[in-house]
Amino acid sequence: METPVSTAVSTPDARVTVRCTYREAMRAAIREAMHRDPRVFLMGEDVGRYGGSFAVSMGLLAEFGPERIRDTPLSESAFVGAGIGAALVGMRPIVEIMTVNFSLLALDQILNNAATLSHMSGGQFSVPLVIRMTTGAGRQLAAQHSHSLEGWYAHIPGLKVLTPATLEDARGMLWTALEDPDPVLIFENGVLYNMEGDLPDDAGPVEISHAAVRRHGDDLTLITYGGTLPKTLEAAERLAKEDIDCEVIDLRTLRPLDTDAIVTSVSRTTRAVVVDEGWRSGSISAEVSARIVEGAFYRLDSPVLRVCTAEVPIPYAKHLEDAALPQVETIMAAVRQSVASDG
């Protein structure tokens, strides 16, 4: 496996790490999958010659050729359907959809076919398909390129929904998803692509069934995923200076949801704030809140609070977009409100 970049350094614990971005980690994951399994191919709009709209597949066409790095017509229904069909008869396709908004053009295929074929056929068929797509706002792309619908997809039985928010998960979730016999959707929040950090050079596949505690704390549990993880961690660090010690849970996988991790943490801290870039009504934040109520109601010292995107299409102008999205300050305010409440 090639490392994402060449500047390897040794860390104190003797693990060699490489400096890389989320984008490069994702690319390394695709490259690894292509090398490991000849059934794997990548298909989508502009993934080949152009290197992907977000440059994730840059260079892969030259390395693997046009048969395995496949530019498609602008036909989301067709190429998602093609991914389903190819998966049904033994291939391991990675389908890239440019943004989550465009995935709606293939929603019939995702919901009516990918998610149903296993159950509807009495288990005769499975759909080992991976669909990757960019999600989220924060890049001034306005109301048709910025939404966060991953929680909405998590409503659908038959799908698995992953939201890598760290370099390790960007690097490691893809292979595990490809080995999974069921359709897996991977949501890559657009603001994360340029996130840079140190990744162990032997980083590889990670499990996709559990949430992760990204920061330990005793006073309150912040629960988030995807693009709002960095903001939530920053809020937690700043709140520590106010002597509020937050635990931060990264859900990682929205379906199946790791209820145990949520309930265990909240039972201990007795307070919870859910941070979700999706809209509030009928959302994954609502689901998380309900599970806390179902599993930890008598442990709560204050109501579960939520910080979500305002219920409007995402606006274009910077200050308007900022106003619509969860921000470090709004997360901090919700935490203070929770801590101040005696329930």
């Binding site: 191919f41 048969e67 498609t72 017509p73 036909s75 229904s77 067709a78 190429f79 998602v80 359907g81 093609a82 991914g83 389903i84 069909g85 190819a86 998966a87 049904l88 008869v89 033994g90 291939m91 396709p93 019939d108 295929q109 009516n112 076919n113 074929l117 296993s118 159950h119 509807m120 056929s121 009495g122 288990g123 005769q124 068929f125 499975s126 080992p128 039985p157 038959g158 698995k160 999974d180 016999p181 069921d182 069934s209 379906r255 199946p256 949801l257 145990d260």
Partner: protein
């Protein structure tokens, strides 16, 4: 296509029906069409008697399309189907008992009672679970073709769809996607003139779906879908082209659904005169007449009796089969077992 292969060149009385189909083969086509016809008629009767649940989309009149096309396929070739899949399933070789039991919602059904009439399928005979969203198979089939191409097999995939689906975006996306990648696919349009109640001329200024092939640079062909020998011949050409790597073909079979669209359809949208006209072209009657020229009537009657016996057996099998356990409703949403037993 050489002239020798054309049906018209066959010497009368030679026992050959076409260059590819002799009397024995023709008898087999007859058997399969008759099986579909009687399957549809008998399940409809049991449906009216309250023995079968849900709804039924029957295909009486369209048997020549399913049988003629599947006859041109190998067992390793695949098909996709629609909300009207009984004929396709039986023509491709889905076990009769398993198909019948599926309509009865029994555990022994091909989908364990979870799919029902609209989702018959079986990987062992190369049939995806039928996709009951109109046009839904037109894009999934491209993945079959793409996989065959990437895996360097010479398999072919056939997508059955109705003329109504040709107004769905998926029809256009799928055909173009298959065309530009030269995928080994036959798009088999069953043009039965009506999308539920709506006549095609009311929703398309182009009377022939095959014309739309031009827009995608593929070959389109129209065939008499009430003549199984003609369908068999056209399908043979189309499948051979697809298998040879020449890309997809759009084969439009002009046919007619003798029954209503689904349960309770009293067919008020079409005239009795029109129905009579099409019933005079009944593909089973026509083939029987052709076969009667070379076979004893007793052979055909025997075949009819065998079909009835097979259906008696399948219906009895379905009736006697156990229902799925209630807890089976919760399995198979995922191929994997998810820790804690919950996939939510």
């Amino acid at each position: 296509m050489s002239d020798v292969a054309r049906a018209g060149s066959i010497e009368p009385g030679s026992g050959q029906l076409t260059a590819d189909v002799d009397a024995t083969h023709g008898l087999d086509l007859y058997r399969r069409m008759q099986l579909i016809r009687r399957f549809e008629e008998r399940v409809y009767l049991h449906y009216l008697q309250g023995e079968l649940p849900g709804t039924l989309h029957q295909s009486q009149g369209q048997e020549a399309v399913a049988v003629g096309i599947c006859d041109a396929l190998r067992p390793t070739d695949w098909i996709t189907s629609t909300h009207r899949p009984h004929g396709h399933a039986l023509a491709k070789g889905v076990d009769l008992r398993a198909a019948m039991a599926e309509l009865y919602g029994k555990a022994t059904g091909c989908c364990g009672g979870k799919g029902g009439s609209m989702h018959l399928g079986d990987p062992s005979v190369g049939m995806l679970p039928a996709i009951a969203i109109v046009g839904g198979g037109n894009t999934v089939v491209t993945g079959l073709g793409l996989a065959f191409k990437l895996m360097r097999t010479d398999q072919v995939a056939v997508c059955f769809f109705g003329e109504g689906a040709s107004n769905e975006g998926a029809f256009h996306e799928g055909l173009n996607f298959a065309a530009v990648q030269h995928l080994p696919i036959v798009f088999a349009c069953e043009n039965n003139l009506y999308g539920a109640s709506t006549p095609f001329h009311q929703v398309s200024l182009v009377p022939d779906v095959a014309t739309r092939a031009v827009a995608y640079g593929v070959r389109g062909e129209i065939v008499d879908g009430m003549d199984v020998l003609a369908v068999r011949e056209a399908a043979g050409r189309a499948v051979a082209e697809a298998r040879a790597g020449a890309g997809p073909v759009l084969l439009e079979c002009k046919t007619y659904r003798f029954a209503g669209h689904s349960r309770g359809d009293v067919k008020g949208y079409r005239s009795r005169e029109e129905e009579v006209l099409w019933k005079e072209r009944d593909p089973i009657v026509r083939l029987r007449a052709r076969l009667a020229a070379t076979l004893d009537a007793g052979v055909l009657d025997d075949m009819d009796a065998q079909v009835e016996a097979a259906l008696d057996d399948a219906i009895e099998f379905a009736r006697q089969s156990p229902l799925p356990r209630a807890e089976d409703a919760l399995t198979d949403a995922y191929a994997t077992v998810i820790s804690g037993g919950s996939a939510s």
